[in-house]
Symmetry: C2
Subunit: 233 residues, 2 copies
């Protein structure tokens, strides 16, 4: 017997956009695991605002890199650090901003624990993603009726942007911070600037702009995205 | 001056998957508006479980049809019924299962109120969608790292299924209940049966099956979907 592992989505940023279940789990677990970089680091800030108690925090180091072997090592070490707590019969909540099934490192950690320690009970608590929170803060629908949606991590390339625009009503480009200028230029080249809205910090006091040109060269928040809407009208 | 209109997502079905903010809003508004059919009808059941108070309920009739002129009339009437409450300085929460920006009739009602009564203050409270809740209940990631996601309402046709499978890692087919057998056959014809999982009632005690063949001819829940995973591996 071991403790139970939870993957908990804490929502897009506003502590009130956490689910009732997420808060209940975070009020009951022995250990909260929040990696020290990127999205998961933000998650811990949100938890501290929403949950009024002291908890033990496990902070594995997740390097901000795309190098597969470096990442694999970090995920494996995090999984083992979590397992050491579970083996002491402690329940652990791995927290992530947004939802644990949606671009979260929880996926990799869960995979490793499932493979190495299949006896561990795992529960995933879904959360509000930044995607619908962005549309909500803009006061626009993301998709309605017969419309279709594509979500693409733009940092990995958007060579097929024209194809996306032809086949989808709404395209959401995630992970736009690291190469914002190139992405903005790619959108311009595809003739889609008029359809684009940049959104940052959608979970709290959102910032948005439909003038991508004016944002070039500026520092862009890690959790920002670009929405392309009304593409097939 | 009028009351304020909220579009409130109550999450995928489990009352605990409602956000703290959704519950707070529902505990404070004068009127809860829940259309009498489909997704919004379910939303009212969830609200009654999560919120322990009596509230005035407005139940406009939304016909289950694709006929545009019938729908337009129903949305217009719902918008005016809501506006009559707002004009009495009452706050109204239009509730929807999942998220109000994600395939909700709230989009149409909001559009009409914005156009006819621009003085009304509107706030959209996002919710957990059935899409991430499905992945969570299956204990699998929806998308990770460089993966991309397509969400398509299958009832409107999936002629481009092969193109979707070539360009996306994960494809979610929504609205599969009305023509389930034809959709299952289309997936088979595309050679994707081995990648498909059918999920129903993801918000509470989920039902899932990767054997679409066995589900043919059976009654399929209105809120079910099919996930196609690992398409580009």
């Amino acid at each position: 017997m071991t403790g139970k592992l939870y993957g908990v989505g804490v929502g897009p940023g506003d502590p009130e956009l956490m689910t009732i279940k997420a808060r209940r789990v975070l009020e009951s677990v022995d250990v909260v695991c929040a990696p020290d970089s990127g999205r998961e680091g933000r998650a811990l800030e949100i938890v501290k605002k929403a949950v009024d108690r002291d908890f033990n925090v496990l902070r594995p180091h997740f390097p901000m890199t795309k190098k597969r072997e470096v990442l694999e090592k970090a995920w494996g070490e995090a999984a083992e650090a979590i397992y050491r707590e579970l083996k002491k019969d402690k329940d652990v909540a791995f927290v992530t901003i947004g939802d644990p099934t949606f671009y979260s490192t929880f996926a990799y950690v869960m995979e490793r624990i499932k493979a190495a320690h299949p006896e561990v009970e795992i529960e995933v608590v879904p959360g509000v993603t930044s995607v619908t929170a962005c549309a909500a803060s803009l006061g626009i629908p993301l998709v309605s009726g017969g419309e279709s949606l594509a979500v693409v991590p733009a940092a990995y390339g958007i060579d097929n942007l024209e194809l996306l625009a032809q086949n989808f009503d709404t395209v959401v480009l995630m992970k736009v911070s690291r190469s914002f200028d190139a992405i903005a230029e790619r959108i311009e080249r595809a003739g889609l600037s008029g359809r684009a809205v940049f959104v940052a910090r959608c979970g709290s006091e959102a910032f948005f702009s439909s003038d991508l040109e004016s944002l070039k060269g500026r520092e862009v928040d890690y959790l920002s995205m670009i929405l392309l809407r009304g593409l097939r009208r």
